[in-house]
């Protein structure tokens, strides 16, 4: 069976290598059968990679420990869901997963574009398949998931595997990689369309219209992936952080930043025909940063808590990145004349300008994160010494950037195109600014002196109110005109322009998340060694140890403390933090106790047993406002989904759309 799996990977690799030239030659020489054969190889590749993946997953589920991959990432005691998740739990498997997702995306792209975009589809196929070929090359020759242990020849049978790393045996973690990967891989598609239209010298932005939903869906997956990672870190790592500026976290953030910039700047191109070069650059950067992210996580380039084993993958990735970037840069430079801007900036206080600054800031933050992440390597090249920058550096830089972005989130959408009048500024911002100033004054009186926290809360109120006002004004106009009740008018308003109002909802989600982030300015913690009957205090909570128990199951054994929580003398319930020791890989892991309320989380970690094994070392934390991060995430997801719903009123673009010239060339059935 393992041979079948490997054969499938090899065949898929050959087909992907075939599909690239077939597609291009078919297009250039006008040979429809070649184009069709390339598209059919895409289907075949999907079938083959699916078969290979199915074999690997079956081996993981069934516990076929002759597979080296299965032996090191699965074991008998693990619950089935984690056996399945072990597919993407390790190097070889996750690269196969990458290939499989790309194959799925490629099939969907081809199915959706059987009749549309025929003039560029062969190039799109070629680009998708070049990327596919690269990853299948990794699967087949560098990180082969079908590597077998030499059972019965050199060694005796392996009775049981090492199991998935216990830190990954956590539900959010099981679905975090697929989400992130759906995002990473998905950006290959808009990139392929952008490059294909460059190759074809297509003026206009057909590629942007075609890929708008792709980009949005992909961005959504990526956001969910990053947020799940944050949630996992918060729950599983025991110190209550959700973000630590670790290289691997940064790697996932980088393409997200450029993608966010892209989502905003395409509006400039659609509405005004500006920033065309910029958009191509952004989508290409996003794609290459996705590959770069996979590379950082997979190669162990930079020492990180998450870093995977050192491996020879690195040079392949560098070669692929170098080639890809060189080709893209050449294409853009060669085709610059097709990307000329059709309008100019007119005023600093305008929608155009707010997009410009949004992009500038996002790009600056992307560059800053990249710089900080790669600094150990840069400094080693320059001075021979590896110097790393820690979270304080990132925070120092990224907090002001974040606040500025938050501010733009509020004001940008309310600026008019071209220029904004003083009158409209007053109309839109007078009350929100006053409310925001009142809140800041109130907080100052209440004794809050944390400067960033004050600014952040002030901006949050400003932005939230401007968004609410937009909904309110629009909906009441509709309600008055059509004699509807307000709730229906609200729905109608959103439905008329889902993109705009969905966007507002996403902004609202971001505001709520900022409220949560700001809570970090007021964190508290306490650590104590406690025995049964004793208690510890943190803030206005008293934690009384009710009992300490221990136990055992197939997968791990555990110590558990039951803590009774009192607040100002009132009993609130109990928390049961646990310390587990996973047998298969001899690793211990905390399982926190959490009491989550909208205003704050009480977070308790069972750090260890004391040396004489009678007392428990308990770490307690208060994290104000953290739940708002997750609430904001949900709003962000909802807003993105709203933006994906087709608008009831089709937006009219003043600029002419490019009409396809398909029929002459490609095999279009009509």
């Amino acid at each position: 069976m393992e041979n079948l799996g490997y054969l499938a990977v090899l065949l898929a690799f050959c087909l992907s290598v075939y599909a690239v030239p077939a597609s291009v030659v078919g297009r250039v020489r006008n040979k429809p059968f070649l184009i069709v054969s390339a598209e059919r190889s895409v289907y075949a590749i999907w079938f083959l990679v699916t078969a290979a993946s199915a074999i690997l997953v079956y081996a993981l589920m069934a516990g076929d420990f002759r597979f080296a991959y299965v032996a090191s990432h699965s074991n008998r005691a693990m619950p089935a869901v984690y056996k399945f998740a072990a597919w993407w739990g390790g190097q070889e498997g996750s690269l196969l997963f990458w290939s499989w997702l790309l194959a799925c995306y490629a099939v969907v792209v081809i199915l959706l574009n059987r009749r549309r975009n025929r003039q560029i589809m062969p190039y799109v196929t070629a680009i998708l398949m070049s990327v596919q070929a690269f990853f299948l090359l990794m699967n087949a020759f560098v990180a082969n998931p079908f590597q077998m242990l030499a059972v019965d020849r050199l060694i005796t049978a392996v009775p049981d595997g090492r199991g998935l790393n216990p830190q990954l045996q956590y539900f959010a973690m099981a679905i975090h990689p697929p989400m992130l990967y759906l995002g990473y891989v998905g950006f290959t598609v808009p990139f392929a369309f952008a490059v294909a239209s460059l190759i074809r010298r297509m003026p206009g932005d057909a590629w942007i219209h075609t890929t708008r939903r792709w980009t949005l869906v992909t961005w959504l997956f990526q956001s969910i992936g990053i947020l799940l990672g944050a949630k996992w870190a918060y729950h599983a790592l025991g110190w209550g952080g959700y973000w630590a500026w670790d290289p691997v976290e940064n790697a996932s953030l980088l393409p997200w930043i450029t993608a966010t910039a892209f989502l905003h700047s395409v509006m400039m191109q659609e509405k005004k025909g500006m920033m065309k070069v910029w958009n191509v650059v952004l989508i290409s950067s996003t794609f290459f940063l996705c590959i770069f992210g996979t590379f950082i996580t997979r190669s162990g380039l930079i020492s990180s808590v998450h870093a995977f084993a050192q491996s020879p993958l690195g040079r392949y990735f560098i070669a692929f990145l170098a080639l890809g970037i060189a080709a893209t840069v050449y294409l853009i430079l060669d085709r610059l004349e097709f990307l000329k801007s059709e309008a100019r900036l007119e005023s600093v206080v305008s929608r155009e300008s707010s997009f410009l600054f949004n992009n500038l800031i996002l790009l600056a933050s992307c560059f800053a994160v990249l710089w900080g992440t790669l600094f150990p390597k840069i400094s080693e090249l320059v001075s021979g010494e590896q110097i790393s920058l820690d979270a304080t550096w990132f925070n120092r830089l990224m907090i002001p950037i974040g606040l500025f972005l938050l501010f733009l989130t509020g004001v940008g959408p309310l600026f008019a195109w071209r220029r904004t009048s003083v009158d409209s500024l007053r109309r839109n911002f007078l009350w929100p600014s006053l409310a925001s100033a009142a809140l800041v004054a109130g907080l100052l009186l209440a004794g809050v002196r944390h400067i960033y926290a004050l600014i952040s809360f002030g901006f949050c109120v400003l932005v939230a109110l401007t968004i609410v006002a937009e909904f309110y004004k629009g909906a009441s106009a509709i309600a008055a005109k059509n004699h509807m009740n307000f709730a229906r008018a609200l729905l109608e308003l959103t439905h008329r322009n889902t993109r705009r109002y969905g966007g507002y909802l996403v902004h609202m989600g971001i505001v709520l998340m900022f409220v949560g982030f700001t809570g970090a300015a007021f964190n508290r913690d306490a650590t104590a060694e406690v025995s049964v009957g004793s208690s510890m205090r943190i803030g206005h909570y008293t934690l009384k140890v009710d009992r300490l128990t221990e136990g055992d199951n197939e997968n791990y054994n555990w110590h558990r403390a039951r803590l009774q929580v009192y607040k100002n003398g009132d009993y609130l319930g109990s928390l049961e933090p646990e310390r587990r020791f996973y047998k298969a890989n001899e690793q211990s892991l905390g399982h926190i106790g959490l009491r989550s309320r909208p205003h704050e989380d009480l977070y308790v970690n069972f750090a260890s047993m004391s040396d004489d094994n009678t007392k428990a070392v308990i770490q307690a934390y208060i994290f104000p406002l953290v739940p708002w991060i997750w609430i904001g995430s949900a709003v962000l997801v909802f807003g993105t989904l709203v933006a994906l719903v087709p608008s009831k009123v089709k937006m009219q673009y003043a600029r002419t759309e490019v009409v396809g010239i398909a029929r002459k060339y490609a095999p279009v059935e009509k």
């Binding site: 190097q91 590597q147 790592l237 600054f357 010494e385 260890s608």
Partner: protein, 141 residues
Amino acid sequence: MKRYGKFAVLIVLIIGALVWLAAGGMGESKTYYKTIAELGQMGERAYGARLRVAGDVEDGSIVRKGPLVEFTLIQENQKLKVQYTGTDPLPDTFRSGAQALADGRLERDGVFRASKIQAKCASKYEMKPGEKSPGAAKTSL
């Protein structure tokens, strides 16, 4: 190019502020990544600078003294005594034989006071099957 004058000024201001922030933060945040052997050769420079040292935790060297944790790091037969003074819990992966990264400063008494410890067992994500089944080591990539 007068019409773009205001934009240029704003952009320069923003970028300038960010570069200033970034450069200012560099001094207090930068941490030198050193091997234990290099630490010995640094002489006076070793005291005061923020350092990051990697090594394996010596078997059985972990001792808890109240809130402090002491252990010894080994790297290529060079040893370094480390005292952990931070408040965050030690990572779950920190144990005898694990690879650890200690962030902190070297004190005059020759003890490394670490404010942050990161650890990964040598085989955190990628475990060599060879550890359990001799003869299979060549399968690891």
